[in-house]
């Protein structure tokens, strides 16, 4: 096979993996903290894209400013949603919040379609990075590399926060042993609210960052939601380093595999995840947890 073909697919896979990392980290964090399987995560991703478009078109903000501002309203919305819907049913089995967030995703996407219609909005890449760069004899859009770099940087920040700050310490404690953490006086509920909001903000940031690559449309979140789930499950629910490996694995498998065997790679991925859940419920890299 053509080596260039492989190389470009692999590069695209890495770019996609960087985005997937950003979304699946939030998913994994929220699950680890509150055992909440958040099906509305894709909707937050889409909302981020729309917030960016609104900021650019209505308010005339530049791309970078819009990108910085876009996650804020989504975060506020997510905080309100967590307080008003997930908080009241926190004592029920996990499956209830799963159903709830699934309904929420419909409501949110329905709201998006109601407000902005179902058409696709293209966002131009910001000026200095709009062109392409020559890599091993192939033209490759510069913005993709820049965006991948930014998402990796953001993900590194998330890891740093989890690893080195007091709040990160609490998050790790709860993920490790919720009962013990509460006994030591950590307020699990408020922390979940904060992390839920932050995770939604991360997803929204990813949505805005990806807008010049993947375009903005109401359904933009559903594909990345499913892929994030695959990444999170493969890596082990609640296990952040595992999630990172999972994200890269899923993205590369889809991108490289997709180049040769088309959609079959997706089928294989799903089958793999199903098998992983049955035979290695802690994820391929261990240490995670499943209900």
């Amino acid at each position: 096979m053509d080596l260039n073909f492989f190389f470009i697919n692999a590069l695209n896979g890495v770019v996609y993996g960087a985005f997937l990392l950003l979304t699946s980290l939030g998913l994994s964090l929220v699950f680890g903290l509150g055992r909440v399987v958040n099906f509305a995560h894709g909707a937050f991703y889409a909302l981020g894209g729309y917030a960016l478009v609104v900021a650019m078109q209505r308010l005339g903000a530049s791309y970078w400013l819009a990108l910085a501002v876009a996650p804020l309203p989504v975060m506020l919305l997510a905080l309100a949603i967590e307080r008003s819907t997930i908080y009241p049913i926190r004592d029920r089995p996990e499956i209830y919040t799963l159903l709830l967030t699934f309904g929420l995703s419909f409501v949110l996407i329905g709201g998006v379609e109601y407000l902005w219609g179902t058409s696709t909005t293209l966002v131009a890449a910001p000026a200095p990075y709009a062109g392409t760069v020559r890599l091993f004899g192939n033209e490759f859009p510069v913005y993709r590399l820049v965006a991948a770099g930014i998402s990796l940087l953001m993900s590194a920040c998330v890891f740093a926060v989890i690893q080195f700050t007091p709040i990160g310490l609490r998050i790790r404690a709860i993920t490790d042993d919720p009962g013990m953490a509460e006994a030591l006086g950590i307020d699990t509920q408020s922390l979940l609210t904060v992390v839920f909001g932050a995770a939604a903000g991360l997803a929204a940031f990813a949505g805005g960052l990806g807008a010049p690559i993947f375009a903005v449309h109401p359904d933009m979140g559903s594909g990345i939601l499913l892929d994030s789930f695959l990444a999170v499950i493969l890596g082990g629910l609640g296990n952040l380093p595992g999630t990172a490996m999972g994200a890269l694995f899923v993205a590369l498998a889809k991108s490289i595999g997709g180049g040769y065997v088309a959609e079959w790679s997706t089928a294989v991925l799903f089958a793999l995840v199903a098998l992983a859940l049955i035979f290695r419920p802690t994820g391929l890299f261990g240490r995670g947890r499943v209900a």
Partner: protein
């Protein structure tokens, strides 16, 4: 979790068959009292969805397996029946038999593995299975025509007679619906059904008194898929075709919401949920001018409608009020009472009242 709702069917023999037979009679004469062909088709679709929703309720409400991929059975049967009808014969019973064999085989093999997990893991695995089938339907173009969808499925035949697309198919669906209802009511009330409910209530306890948990779950899984297969077969004949979207995970979500909206573990609830989600609720939001334009525009805008349709809103609201998962319609009055405190203006809203009345009709 609350204790399961156990159906209180104490009647025996013919008495037990009376309500569904009366319903069947009512359904049979309904189209004769002047409603348009479009409405008949819509009602047929709603009844098919009702069969599908009931099959899911058997899993969720009576076995405790929350499936997020119930579209798998529905879509798979559609493809099997549609392919058979196109290539061999469009005899309804033969096509149904083929579809059921395919669905039952797949369910038997997959079910053998997946019933060993429960909770979130089961939900995600069932979602994965449906997505694998979805992908296969997209890629295997020789059989499925890929994303274009399978078209040109001929009209079904029953004993040499062609079943027309309007009233004939409606009647066939009504008979199927009532049969499925009777079978399922008998089933959940049988020793087998009681055993399932015991497993749902407390799996470990059920196992400790000697119930073979996996075997019962497996049988329920296969049976549920088979019933969904009937719905899928009817649907492929109604639409004269099918697309990979019938296997997509959002479709699984839709049927799940019908069951939740109607009331988990009630069998009658999912029927109402399906009717409400497919026929009644899309028409409630009258402010949208696109609704009035044409049949086509209804089907076109239904996605938008669905998104913020009251179904989902109600589900959310009742979830917030804390009554969702144990049967929204049945628990709705409680939910409404709580809502009165929390959001008085909403309960005053005329449209909301209309909806609530609809929900109480059962």
């Amino acid at each position: 979790m609350k204790s399961p709702r156990v159906s209180s069917y104490q009647q025996r023999g013919w008495q037990q068959l009376a309500p569904p037979l009366a319903l069947l009679a009512l359904l049979a004469v309904l189209p004769l009292i002047a409603i348009s062909t479009f409405t008949v088709t819509l009602l047929t679709e709603a009844m098919i969805l009702a069969i599908w929703a009931m099959s899911l309720d058997l899993l969720i409400g009576y076995t405790g397996l929350i499936s997020f991929g119930h579209a798998a059975a529905f879509g798979l049967a559609g493809y099997a029946a549609g392919y058979f009808a196109k290539k061999v014969t469009s005899d309804f019973l033969l096509a149904l038999a083929v579809a059921e064999i395919v669905v039952a085989l797949v369910a038997a093999v997959l079910g053998f593995i997946v019933v060993r997990v429960s909770g979130i893991a089961f939900a995600v695995i069932s979602l994965c299975i449906a997505q694998v089938l979805f992908t296969i339907a997209v890629v295997w173009r020789e059989v499925t025509d890929g994303m274009d969808g399978m078209v040109g499925v001929p009209l079904p035949k029953l004993g040499g007679m062609t079943i027309g697309p309007g009233y004939d198919l409606y009647l066939l669906t009504a008979v199927s619906l009532c049969t499925v209802y009777v079978v399922l009511v008998r089933l959940v009330d049988s020793p087998f059904g009681r055993t399932l409910q015991a497993i749902r209530t407390n799996e470990e306890r059920a196992a400790s008194i000697g119930i073979n948990v996996y075997l019962h779950k497996w049988i329920a899984f296969v049976f549920s898929w088979a019933v969904a297969g009937l719905a899928g077969t009817l649907m492929v004949f109604l639409k004269a075709g099918t697309t990979p979207m019938s296997l997509h995970w959002t479709e699984s979500g839709n049927v799940l919401i019908m069951v939740i909206f109607g009331g988990i573990g009630t069998l009658l609830g999912p029927i109402i949920g399906a009717e409400a989600a497919s026929t009644i609720l899309p028409f409630i939001r009258l402010e949208d001018p696109r609704l009035h334009m044409s049949v086509y525009s209804i089907s076109e805008s239904s996605d938008v409608l669905y998104g913020i349709a009251p179904t989902k809103m109600l589900e959310l609201l009742s979830a917030v009020a804390g009554e969702a998962a144990d049967g929204s319609i049945y628990g709705l009055h409680k939910a409404l009472d709580k809502l009165k405190d929390k959001a008085p203006h909403l309960v005053q809203d005329r449209r909301f009242q209309k909806l609530a009345t609809q929900a109480f009709l059962d």
